[in-house]
Symmetry: C2
Subunit: 264 residues, 2 copies
């Protein structure tokens, strides 16, 4: 990253321009106060399956926008180009990872429908504001994510497990964390579980399926939220002929204020 | 209605059984505490258009459930039959009202996808609980509904105007009404406007497009919420070959508690 670039002092359009120019970096901490989004794009023939899957599983898959087929623009970010403006993409063929380009133009199709899905970075800002420590940020790590033993409600040809992110929360603050995130249903809402990892079929917190292990501090309780990686897990499980997603942690930066998604 | 039938003392499964047996009546006040839903069913070929229209217009069209093609059951109501369990239906052919049967079995198709959409009856209960008077209930009338000059965001072949319901609210309670309904995003959420009908292109409050005129009391402000009749207005405007809906005010009674849709 250029020494003149400070993520926290870069606004969303500037950040998208840097990513368009080739910068590939995790987007945590970039353009603070602006909502970031998960991307999943599929051929039009699969669009109903994805949209219905999201409707039936709104906690892991809260839809912020859906493009028309072939379109690379979205009202969430004036002038943005979904083909180029994410730091890094993942290309999936029949559920297998085929490429991780920083520019998706070569893979773009005229029948591609893009889904932008809410991201937990938005509720992390609200939790931090409410005094809930973010252990993974303190430890300079990506959040821990786990594939659970709960299946999402299937939709047409799409099925897969619920993926959750875990944040250690001091026991006295679990209620605050729950209340704050419940007011943000467009970005995963309230936790799906707090306390016992085994209830979600998670056997070892120190070995996440995605992201980094994060250390618990004494008195911390593991709190689990539905995670926007769930659609990628559904792609892996359901093997559509083609899909394009963001690379984990390297999100699409919208111009929409986080506060827009807060209720009440 | 039989003299042994008291709507307020009938639970949702009992009410559905009465409607299945042929009783046709507005459902306001039936099975209190249980969410009621708007129905719109279209051929599978139009399902993506409807689901995307709802996703892009979540305030008027909050989706509570979508069935598989041809299915008449829903997890929102154990044992219910969507073909028979609404008091009265409307059958639409190319956007024109073709029939209003009390049983839709003869019109059912194997490719029919049913959408159940949140209904303002749920937030009316919350407003009443918070001390906001419901003038239309006091006056024994249906709520007033108006076609506005705002167009919904179109989706594929589906387009149409935003329809709103209006409730007169004492000026001092407008903030309470706004806050209470904002906590119910699955049933239309916060008002779209309070105050000036002309801002929505409404010229005469005493002549609603649907429902009954409702009298304002001194000091009342007209408050407008997005309305679940919006999908019917889209059917009229967009003229799909076939659609089946509930008749206005004669809703589908689910087993889900109103409180399930309340956030925070």
């Amino acid at each position: 990253m250029s020494s003149t670039t400070s993520p926290a002092h870069t606004d969303a359009p500037q950040a998208r321009a840097l990513f368009r120019a080739g910068l590939a970096t995790p987007t945590a901490g970039w353009a603070p106060g602006r909502a970031q989004a998960n991307l999943i794009a599929v051929p039009a023939d699969w669009a109903y399956d994805v949209l219905l899957f999201c409707q039936r599983n709104p906690k892991p898959c809260p839809v912020l926008d859906v493009t028309d087929a072939g379109a690379w623009h979205t009202p969430l970010a004036e002038g943005a180009d979904l083909r180029t403006d994410l730091p890094r993409y993942r290309v999936w063929e029949r559920g297998e990872l085929a490429d991780e380009p920083t520019d998706a133009t070569a893979y773009w199709r005229r029948d591609l429908v893009s889904f932008l899905i809410g991201c937990s970075f938005t509720f992390e800002a609200a939790l931090t504001e409410a005094g809930v420590p973010m252990r993974h940020v303190e430890q300079g790590r990506n959040v821990s994510m786990y594939v659970t033993d709960r299946q999402c409600r299937p939709a047409e040809r799409l099925h897969g497990p619920l993926v959750v992110s875990m944040r250690p929360v001091p026991a006295a603050l679990v209620e605050t964390a729950t209340r704050c995130s419940a007011l943000l249903p467009a970005v995963h809402g309230a936790p799906v579980h707090a306390g016992d990892p085994a209830r979600l079929g998670i056997t070892d917190l120190s070995r996440p399926d995605f992201g980094d292990p994060v250390e618990m501090r004494p008195g911390d309780v593991p709190v689990f939220w539905a995670c926007g990686v769930t659609p990628q897990a559904a792609v892996m499980a359901s093997r559509p002929p083609f899909a394009l997603t963001h690379a984990p942690g390297q999100m699409f930066l919208t111009d929409v204020a986080d506060s827009h998604y807060r209720i009440g």
